[in-house]
Symmetry: C2
Subunit: 165 residues, 2 copies
């Protein structure tokens, strides 16, 4: 692998490699806003439970209105992770998530601040030109009075990244 021309996750020249992703390094991935039409379209296709798609039932429930599918929320996390980190990093692939928790309801119009932090780094046993990085991601629902700021999503996952040498 020619590191000088190694591709980032979005296909441009990578600037971040496995060695750069040391534990404690933290990336601010910006703020994502929940679009009502998209939230509803996603739920109708992938997660048509009543509290995601039926406004009348949701309004009369403990939720007080429609809440986002957790898979919509985590898909928005992924987009922020691609834009904010993988677009610059020599990312190879991910074997999966070790944890995914939905901690608070997410609603249309909510603004979620996204971060990711490196919590582990190890050479790969199966891919000698790669290393494994363990990351912890969060989405924090920003205050929208009377609702306070609250952690809405937490995940821990691994990714493979190319080594510099």
């Amino acid at each position: 692998m020619n590191v000088a021309a190694a591709r980032s996750g979005t296909g441009v020249v990578a600037e971040l490699f496995w060695e750069d992703l040391s534990p404690g390094r933290r990336f601010d991935l910006g703020v994502t806003e929940i679009d009502r039409d998209e939230m509803l379209a996603f739920a109708r296709r992938f997660d048509p439970q009543w509290y995601h798609v039926d406004e009348r039932l949701a309004a009369g429930s403990e939720y007080g209105g429609l809440i986002a599918s957790g898979f919509f929320t985590v898909s928005l996390f992924m987009r922020a992770y691609v834009d904010g980190l993988l677009a610059r990093a020599a990312a190879v692939a991910s074997p999966g998530l070790e944890e995914l928790r939905w901690l608070a309801p997410v609603r249309a119009g909510d603004r979620l601040a996204v971060t990711v932090e490196v919590v582990g780094q190890a050479p790969s046993h199966t891919k000698p030109d790669c290393g494994t990085v363990t990351l912890r991601g969060t989405m924090t629902r920003l205050a929208a009075p009377p609702e306070p700021t609250r952690e809405a999503l937490r995940t821990q996952f691994r990714g493979w990244f190319l080594r510099r040498r």
Copy 2:
């Protein structure tokens, strides 16, 4: 909670309750086919990594062509789980996933057989009218010669379900 009128995950009368979801019980959730246009649209919006969205780069890579975003695949798992189980069950919500693994690439046209099996059952400490169920889900990519049948996704997650009494 009036159990006789308890709602299923899709808002109709529930027929399955926490007591019914005992360890070892297995549900066949049918076969999901991967639509190329939808796979690509999902990746462009939520996971625009080159091996999900750039046909030319993907064709010249180890993947030999575009592969699905893992979040598209797990969203299709969710849909099959709603249609095949939550539509009948007194489901309340899910706190999240304990594991999610992408084990083999998924491509346009692939057919994935979906199952879910109960692996644990416990009363809820925080919600006396509910119980917790731990489930293991799988998506198996059916043979498309020369590709053999292979497990493509595995997940373990918890759900809260209403008790009968």
